[in-house]
């Protein structure tokens, strides 16, 4: 175990009766890290967080906090405050009493309690609401109260369970920067559960992607975005075009993949494991790295005849939907300038192409 590890999951499994919510999970969370756990609903991300908070007990394996196993520690003996999706603010207490709650439970004196709570209200810019009822606050203000209530005890780690999901889009973006700044300033480790890719990727240092109780990939947002390691991750992110086929050759640092759309080539450099002919694999290429032309450009090994089937303009970028000869739908994302010289009409025959360094291979399990 490294020195700067705060939390480690070692072979952690969680079952609810017959149902396996979390399958054998091994990963570490560093001190001061902003870690996002991402996946669709029912993937086990919230269960993972709840095990860390002590609200669920692992069926197998060990969870360590600062090196010490915490499996048998009830939640009220851990310092793992959590921010709930519903926020779970106490409606029978006013704002400052909510923030003071955890200090009161720790036996902190009245004056000290008030002083610290006021500091946090000030920091979260909600001082003027100190004696308000929770029901009188807006969504964003409640969010700040919930954060202050958890952070007032100055924990080493803060757990967040989709705290922004109830907010409207504009407020969400504002709160994201509040959270990110807060994490940077305090140096507290944040573990942030979300189903939103934009939240995870814009805030987190590292992202854990889960599916059906399993970790699919752990990495920085950039790593995951550029080189999704499994078909699931590539599909989940939805930002890559995918071609599945059989490896037909691998020599001279170039791997050839036979797909229904045609033979595609990519660089073997940087591949996690050696590939052998006959293996089933999927080539992924980012839709932003896929180019479009009228005639096959010289010097490009990967070219596919395609037919345009649709287009979508959002802000500065355009998404063009295309169909390959075998009927598979792909798309490209480009700025308007990049597309300016192309005859973009529905039904137009074009050529999709990309550099062979931009393709990544994902092996089938």
């Amino acid at each position: 175990m490294k020195n700067d590890t705060l939390v480690s999951f070692e072979g952690v499994v969680k079952r609810f009766g017959e149902f396996v919510a979390v399958q054998r999970m091994d990963f570490e969370i560093g001190k001061g890290e902003f870690l996002a756990i991402m996946g669709s609903s029912g993937c086990g991300k919230t269960t993972t967080l709840r095990m860390l908070a002590g609200l669920e007990a692992p069926s197998e394996g060990v969870i360590r906090l600062s090196g010490k196993p915490i499996n048998d520690l009830p939640t009220w003996s851990r310092d793992t405050p959590m921010v709930w999706q519903s926020l779970a603010l106490f409606p029978f207490l006013n704002v400052i009493e909510n923030v003071e709650f955890a200090l009161k439970m720790r036996g902190v004196g009245k004056a000290e309690r008030r002083r610290k709570a006021e500091q946090w209200l000030d920091r979260m810019q909600i001082t003027e609401f100190a004696s308000r009822n929770i029901s009188q606050l807006s969504g964003g203000q409640r969010q700040r109260v919930a954060l202050a209530r958890s952070l007032v005890v100055e924990p080493e780690i803060l757990l967040l369970d989709e705290p922004l999901s109830a907010l409207d889009a504009a407020l969400k973006v504002r709160m994201q920067s509040v959270l990110k700044n807060l994490q940077r300033e305090t140096g507290i480790t944040f573990v942030y559960v979300t189903h939103s890719q934009s939240e995870a990727f814009s805030m987190a240092d590292r992202v854990v992607i889960m599916s059906r109780g399993k970790i699919e990939q752990i990495g920085t947002p950039k790593e995951i975005y550029r080189t999704p390691r499994t078909r699931f991750v590539a599909g989940f992110l939805g930002s890559s075009n995918m071609f599945t086929g059989k490896v037909s050759g691998s020599d001279g640092g170039v791997v050839t993949l036979d797909t229904p759309a045609g033979a595609l080539r990519l660089s073997a450099a940087g591949m996690p494991q050696p590939v052998a002919a006959g293996q089933t694999a999927t080539l992924t290429v980012l839709d932003t790295k896929t180019d479009l032309a009228v005639t096959p450009p010289s010097g490009r090994v990967n070219t596919l005849p395609v037919r345009m089937i649709g287009e979508e303009f959002i802000g500065a970028t355009a998404t063009i939907y295309l169909e390959t000869a075998d009927g598979q739908e792909i798309r490209i994302q480009k700025s308007h300038e990049d597309l300016a010289n192309l005859p973009l009409q529905i039904g137009q025959e074009l050529v999709a192409h990309w550099s062979y360094e931009d393709g990544h291979l994902v092996m089938e399990e």
């Binding site: 779970a88 106490f90 709650f101």
Partner: protein, 281 residues
């Protein structure tokens, strides 16, 4: 916004309105009028005379009965709330869905039998030669005078109010947001402390209303103080029957009844205010 009355709305609301008018408002007005009538030679005559109020409020016996009735029903409300809470807490938080349904069913069963019958059956347990004293006799104890005591009256009050109080408490506990409890645990609030710091404040309205019902039912109860308490000490309900029996003093009984109604309204008002204190919605 003011809505106009429709024939459809009236069809359903009118019977209840007429009922309330006939059997609540009208008798109440009559009761007020009656309290100003006078009795001459054992015959009542319509009058406007405050003599009944002056007589009753001038009697120490009346105030003694008032104090005792108030104290006993307040004690019953507090006792039944304290005894019912662990029970409704266990039903709400410790039982499975099926178990909870059975518990609710079991709490409804006592209502199948008349309260009077249940009180009579307590006599069989509590009398000098009753079940409890016989069993105590086997181990060489007693007999104790259990019947015709304040304790026996209390048992009667609990018999009357316990199932209802459990049900009312249960409904308020069942609606507590479970994440509030988890949040409290997560903020280092232990299990027992959470009961007092989170669960009771969350369920406050329901708990106060349940205690209020226990108070109202006990305050006006006639059956337990007479059949289990033996009529001693005299409660207001017993005082009413005594007053009517002695010389047709219906107007004085009306004074007692109106005092009781006034007291219950004041207590109910205070209780509801206390329950919703500090809430804006």
């Amino acid at each position: 916004m003011r809505r106009s009355l429709t024939l459809y709305g009236l069809t359903f609301s009118l019977p209840l309105l007429i009922w309330q008018l006939l059997f609540f408002v009208f008798p109440l007005v009559f009761l007020v009028a009656l309290s100003f009538w006078t009795v001459k030679n054992f015959r009542m005559q319509p009058d406007i005379d405050a003599v009944n109020w002056v007589t009753m409020y001038g009697r120490p016996l009346f105030w003694q009965a008032y104090g005792i009735t108030f104290a006993m029903s307040a004690a019953a409300a507090a006792l039944v709330s304290a005894l019912a809470f662990p029970c409704s807490y266990a039903i709400a938080f410790k039982l499975s869905e099926t178990g909870r349904r059975w518990a609710v069913f079991l709490m409804v069963i006592p209502f199948f039998t008349s309260y009077l019958v249940r009180v009579y059956s307590w006599q069989i347990f509590l009398s000098d030669a009753g079940i409890i004293n016989v069993m105590l006799g086997w181990v060489g104890l007693g007999p104790y005078g259990l019947l015709n005591t304040v304790g026996a009256t209390m048992i009667g009050y609990l018999t009357l109010t316990f199932p209802l109080v459990v049900l009312l408490q249960l409904f308020s506990l069942a609606f507590i947001d479970r994440t509030l409890i988890e949040a409290a645990h997560n903020l280092r609030c232990g299990r027992l402390r959470t009961v007092f710091a989170v669960i009771i404040p969350s369920a406050r309205v329901g708990l106060v209303i349940a205690a209020l019902f226990a108070f109202i039912l006990s305050f006006g109860d006639f059956v337990s103080p007479i059949y289990l308490g033996g009529g001693d000490p005299t409660t207001l309900s017993i005082l009413i029957t005594d007053t009517t029996k002695s010389g047709q003093q219906w107007p004085r009984a009306a004074v007692i009844a109106l005092t009781m109604i006034g007291t219950l309204m004041a207590v109910a008002f205070a209780a509801v205010r206390f329950a919703y204190k500090g809430r804006t919605k």
